[in-house]
């Protein structure tokens, strides 16, 4: 039978008056749930590659094995989000509507830089009840080179060549530091081709799925180029 902690303490207060003032907040309701998972994005000249696993979880439970963390906002940019799924949906809806309005008013789609700034402002507008989202905005800049912007929950952002967010962040980012930048690498070969980088990304997700219980099921990869968007889905560990 489940006895809330505060009720148990009533007995303590009678038997041990010194413990009378201890209260635990563990029964407090929270508006936030971490649906976990991992996303990453890598920018290369001419393209940007965004990937996210498709597992949705809540604590030790799996809610879905087939939930996308990626959302294409314009022809040239994609939002990848880890954190609370409901907030991801709400944020995505807002951005889609706002960017449609931008297109009507300006007769052209918003550039990646514009979307990046818009996302930052929207996140900060909720400074005192934040979107529980850890975002990556990946897209092509005005010269069609891949760029990645990484965000915290309240909208602080910066441009990066690659970024990782989510429950597998620490596991994966260390691998990318080594593979894509050659940090702490004895044999400093940096991958040049798209295929090499795709292989590294797939390996990263497999590694994350091994050690992080919240990452797995499938990895969904979007490759954005000036010619269009390509989508690849590969299976991952299901345990």
């Amino acid at each position: 039978m489940y006895i809330p902690v505060n009720d148990m303490l009533k007995h303590f207060k009678q038997d041990a008056p010194a413990m009378a003032n201890i209260t635990h907040k563990s029964d407090q309701w929270s508006p936030y749930h971490d649906n976990s998972g991992t996303v990453l994005a890598v920018g290369i000249p001419g393209a940007v590659i965004v990937a996210g696993d498709t597992r949705l979880s809540n604590g030790y439970n799996i809610l879905s094995r087939d939930a996308t963390k990626l959302s294409q906002l314009t022809d040239k940019c994609v939002l990848a989000t880890a954190g609370q799924y409901a907030d991801f949906i709400a944020l995505r809806k807002f951005l889609q509507q706002r960017l449609q309005l931008y297109e009507f008013q300006n007769e052209v789609q918003a550039s990646t830089e514009t979307v990046a700034h818009l996302l930052s402002r929207e996140l900060y507008s909720r400074r005192f009840f934040p979107y529980y989202t850890f975002n990556l905005l990946a897209g092509l800049d005005e010269n069609n080179h891949g760029v990645v912007y990484g965000y915290d929950a309240i909208g602080s952002y910066d441009q990066m060549t690659y970024g990782v967010q989510g429950s597998g962040q620490e596991l994966v980012v260390a691998v990318l530091d080594n593979q894509l930048k050659g940090y702490n690498k004895i044999n400093k070969t940096i991958p040049q081709t798209r295929e090499e980088i795709l292989d590294i990304i797939l390996d990263c997700f497999s590694c994350a799925a091994e050690r992080d219980i919240h990452t797995g099921d499938n990895v969904e990869i979007l490759i954005i180029t000036a010619a269009g968007t390509e989508r690849i889905v590969k299976p991952l560990r299901k345990d």
Binding site: K93, Q97, Q100, L101, F104
Partner: protein, 248 residues
């Protein structure tokens, strides 16, 4: 005529039961350059003639996208059309945000009509001086509506409004029985043929002054580009309306 006694504002009826201000607003629509629309089972096509205020000026756009599944063609005061266009776009965006689906076409036309009617029943307002042809696709099918400054709206199989539109309507009366089963290309050629009937003797259709927009069940609203327009205008020469095929 004693018109001038009863035409000062919208809140005065004439003895014949007319609101002259509203009638005058409809005149503004008739003065605008022609735009027409026609539909088949799968597509709606909007064709308009763009006016050029002078040699030095550009051509006035007549067709505007409201959403992926809806577009309008305007005749009359462009400034008033912009207001209605903005309203329709906002309504579609809000509907999509709330219901994650496209705004039903008839519903939006009704909202526009409500707005227009409101302007005809006040001492301080004037009616909108623009008529819209609203093309849209929703689960109920393929639609073409016309809205008026009076606040009335009608659904059509094909319709033309604006300057010399009667000529185009006469063309439609002869051939509209073919439209349901027409292909997209045939539909466009019928539209352009109707447009051709409505131009002046010394005018000609070219890729600069013609605007064609298409909307389909699996086709988001797009305008034809200059090259496509040129090709269709060339095909127009040999188009036979009766057989709907090119004649040699």
């Amino acid at each position: 005529m004693l018109k001038h006694l009863y035409d000062t504002d919208c809140v005065t009826w004439s003895p014949q039961g007319k609101l002259f201000q509203v009638e005058y607003a409809m005149e503004a629509v008739k003065q605008g350059s022609i735009c027409l629309g026609l539909k088949s089972n799968d597509f709606v096509v909007l064709c308009s003639l763009k006016r050029q205020p002078s040699e030095l000026a550009g051509y006035q756009e007549k067709q505007f996208k409201i959403d992926d599944h809806m577009a309008i063609a305007i005749a009359g005061l462009t400034a008033d059309a912009r207001v209605l266009c903005k309203y329709m776009r906002t309504e579609c965006l809000e509907y999509k945000y709330t219901y994650e689906s496209h705004h039903p076409v008839g519903r939006l036309v009704f909202k526009v009509a409500e707005k227009s009617q409101h302007k005809t029943q006040s001492g301080a307002k004037r009616p909108y001086g623009v008529g819209l042809l609203v093309a849209g696709i929703d689960p109920n099918g393929v639609h073409l509506f016309e809205t008026c400054p009076s606040g009335n709206y009608y659904e059509y199989k094909c319709q033309a409004i604006g300057s010399r539109s009667q000529a185009a309507r006469t063309y439609f009366e002869s051939w509209f029985h073919l439209f349901e089963k027409s292909t997209l290309e045939q539909l466009i050629l019928h539209g352009l043929s109707a447009l051709k009937k409505a131009i002046m003797e010394d005018e000609e259709l070219n890729e600069k002054n013609v605007e064609v927009g298409i909307l389909g069940k699996n086709q988001k609203f797009i305008h034809l580009n200059a090259q496509e327009l040129k090709d269709y205008i060339v095909k127009l020469e040999t188009f036979n309306a009766n057989t709907q095929i090119q004649q040699e």
